[in-house]
Subunit: 490 residues, 2 copies
């Protein structure tokens, strides 16, 4: 019964189907959001959500749909063979962040999602995972089901990879990919459904991300063999006993410029940054025209950017600066008032965002060398790759087929996307974009949601003239799949 799906009349059949089934489609968003798949806390919820997805892939008509165990949470893999020319891997995450400690005000239970009216939209669906990322995920699946329910064939072959521990750093996804490279060898590009609109309706397309290496510097009496070696002691002893806390402070201070601590003094720290390509410079030129600096300041509660940079200079700094951020710092007594204690250790949690072509290994070696050369061989560097995973940088060539087609599809829908050479943050894309797969990866879609990892997380169901709601977002996915069916994606 499934017919070809290549012209607008077919498209309108699917669109009519979507219009008619808005209520059922919304119900499917609620269905998956009700499953408390908190990767950090609820393995049973994660398992149930994996089974739910596996079943959805079967219902869609996937040739294979299976749950793959990893050392962490399972990956749901499914293969939809449409007999089409192009094959798209679809990256999904089905886990969500914890809710403990959060004060939700719009609904009672983050796992009992409800539609609530919210200006400047109409109804928005409120609940944990609505925007990150079960809303876009289910909108995309709704679009695929709608194509089939309209008697048509999905225009591309799909290989779904749904992970259950994105919120834990995607630690074990890489294992699944390494072990199943043969399944992915015919893939042309990787696509991730996403509500890519801002609250104002602007569309962003990012072509990669920075890498990030996170590590603790631990200065302890135990390792130093000076100061309090076994445990914290009474601070009156400080007259004759040295302090590991002061030692860490001085070690940290040696790493940055006292007059501008954003400038890292570790030898070679800024080396191996690939210069921007001609295409990147053009993208940045365009971006500088539309990048809303005041809005970014407002959203982040800022009064000044670094050195009061703006325009193209600000963006160049944003994209091409390796950072050394202190995520956290602790030592000794941190409660109210004071406690007369000389602590036995101090810890700094550091993070460096890496730019292509820097490697985590070289950065960590430079940090180690700096500590050694500055007289701090005892200061320990602790990484936790087993629990924390690795987020390497990722680049998708602006000239890839999927990028061009996606931009064109946005334009067809009336949107001029802001194209970022990469985002400032990090994401588990490198495993697709780096060898051996070396695939282009993009996240795309209309629609908007916000407050990820925060109370009253929402996803827009009824949009306005700029921000698209559920129905239009599903239609856009249909259009996108149709456009992906022809031409080269990679």
């Amino acid at each position: 019964m499934n017919g070809e799906f290549v012209n607008n009349s077919n498209c309108s059949t699917v669109f009519e189907y979507i219009d008619k089934h808005k209520a059922e489609h919304l119900e499917k968003l609620k269905e998956i959001i009700r499953i408390p798949s908190i990767a950090a806390e609820n393995p049973d919820g994660v398992r149930r959500c994996a089974e739910y997805l596996e079943n959805q892939f079967r219902l869609l008509g996937c040739r294979e749909a299976s749950i793959y165990k990893t050392k962490g949470q399972p990956v749901v893999y499914a293969h939809y063979d449409a007999g089409a020319k192009n094959t798209l891997a679809v990256y999904l995450m089905y886990d969500v962040k914890q809710v403990s400690g959060e004060r939700w005000t719009l609904i009672k239970d983050p796992f009992s999602p409800e539609v609530v009216q919210m200006s400047p939209f109409g109804g928005v669906l409120v609940g944990r995972g609505t925007t990150n990322s079960k809303g876009p995920l289910m909108a995309f699946l709704n679009a695929l089901f709608s194509i089939k329910a309209s008697g048509l064939e999905i225009p591309v072959n799909l290989k779904f990879i749904a992970e259950g521990e994105e919120e834990l750093g995607s630690t074990h996804l890489i294992d699944f990919i390494r072990e199943n490279l043969d399944k992915l060898k015919d893939v042309d590009a990787v696509f991730s459904p996403s509500g890519s609109q801002s609250i104002k309706g602007d569309v962003t397309l990012t072509l990669g991300c920075k890498g990030v290496t996170e590590f603790e510097l631990v200065c302890s009496g135990k390792n130093w063999r000076r100061g309090p070696v076994e445990r914290a002691i009474h601070s009156s002893m400080n007259a004759i006993v040295e302090s590991p806390v002061w030692r860490l402070v001085q070690a940290l201070a040696s790493m940055t410029d006292p007059d501008d601590p954003s400038r890292v003094l570790i030898k070679g720290f800024y080396d191996n940054v690939a210069p921007p390509t001609k295409e990147d410079l053009l993208l940045i030129e365009e971006l500088a025209k539309v990048y809303d600096e005041e809005a970014v300041k407002k959203a982040n509660g800022l009064e000044h950017f670094y050195n009061d940079l703006h325009g193209k200079e600000l963006l160049m700094k944003a994209f091409y600066t390796t950072t050394l951020n202190i995520q956290g710092l602790y030592a000794g007594y941190t409660g109210p008032l004071f406690k007369t204690v000389l602590p036995e250790m101090a810890v700094a949690k550091l993070e460096s965002r890496l730019i292509p072509n820097q490697t985590m290994t070289e950065t960590m070696e430079k940090v180690r060398k700096h500590l050694d050369e500055h007289g701090y061989p005892d200061i320990e560097i602790r990484e936790y790759p087993e629990e924390n995973g690795v987020d390497d940088w990722s680049r998708t060539d602006p000239k890839s087929g999927i990028v061009k087609i996606t931009i064109d599809t946005y334009r067809e829908a009336g949107f001029e996307p802001q194209v970022w050479p990469y985002m400032l943050g990090s994401a588990p894309r490198y495993m697709f974009t780096k060898p051996p797969l070396s695939l282009p990866f993009i996240g795309a879609g209309l629609g908007h949601g916000a407050r990820a990892h925060a109370p009253d997380e929402y996803y827009v169901i009824d949009g306005n003239d700029k921000v698209k709601g559920l129905v239009d977002s599903e239609k856009f996915y249909v259009k996108l799949m149709l456009n992906y069916s022809d031409g080269a994606l990679n």
Copy 2:
């Protein structure tokens, strides 16, 4: 009926009474320890303990015994008029530290004290406040009651000042003293009963203490008007947003020598330390002969003192170095693994131990000036004098009568005390030793206890050949009062 109390035969009458009433005296220790007078948590327990003490003072025959309200916990004041020549103020504390979070192993309930066998002693009384300080307090009161019960008069006039918030920094005791100076104008010296023996039986007599000023340095985007001003933001923004944490690290680092962070570079930080007196130098000379460096290292879990100093040099450093200790440090995310956050503030809890004749005011001015001159005028200094009180340094002249008599009494009992010009820590003595009272203050007594502020706190009931138990400790107080009755105490 009360007779004179001047010769050894009378003393033996009292000693016999003490020998016979050991069980009842132990019961009185348990009685007061059962009252959970936790200053930080249990105002009702504190009130009950104040009432208990007030009643004890009445039973002893005090002319006045009253509970005085303060802005914090009450002070119990009592006046025992023996018609004697000398008048001793007796400083007591009746509050105790919290027990929450502590794992007691020798008894179940820290407020249901029990006698437990403990090597190298016999029985020790285990419970919160046993050594700090209800054990010595009640041993002293037992001694006084025993004198009276033997038909004798206490040989000195006593003015009891018992505070209920020593564990909160004695914040309001100074108010009581300022408001009741007339009550104290005929006092010759201040005495505080104390188990002054170490676990080996060595006796220590300290003639004062260091001052301490505690303060927080707070570096915030809010005050700096740079970096994240309102709240922590995503760390990917660090490429274009400055960090208050790095700023605090650099500000702190500027205060000490990178090559020796125990050396403070704040201008004038070591000024106004009074040179050691001839008497102090003699005391230190003597102390260096008996100060057990290895035992101190072992007790504190140390392998090295500062610069591997020892002997007289170590003690000189201990007594005459103004410290700048980091009690605690915190910023951003301090939980397990990592969180990609750029914190909006960082806090260091600092403490400086002051040597006579330094003042807190001058130290805080020097810190402020240092921050200002180094470009950190936005870094806030937070003190909490209302909640945290003030512990100024204190000195008692080694030539004071009470010091000499106490040393002689120790010698009579077969102990050569280690006399410290002052302790390295701080205590609320300055309100007695500085003008307008300008009184000598000593803590003295035989006996031993340990694990103050820690689980399984104990006080020795049955001693060994070196460490005195409850009975001998009470007898020593009797002897001490007798010796205080004659000669000048101040």
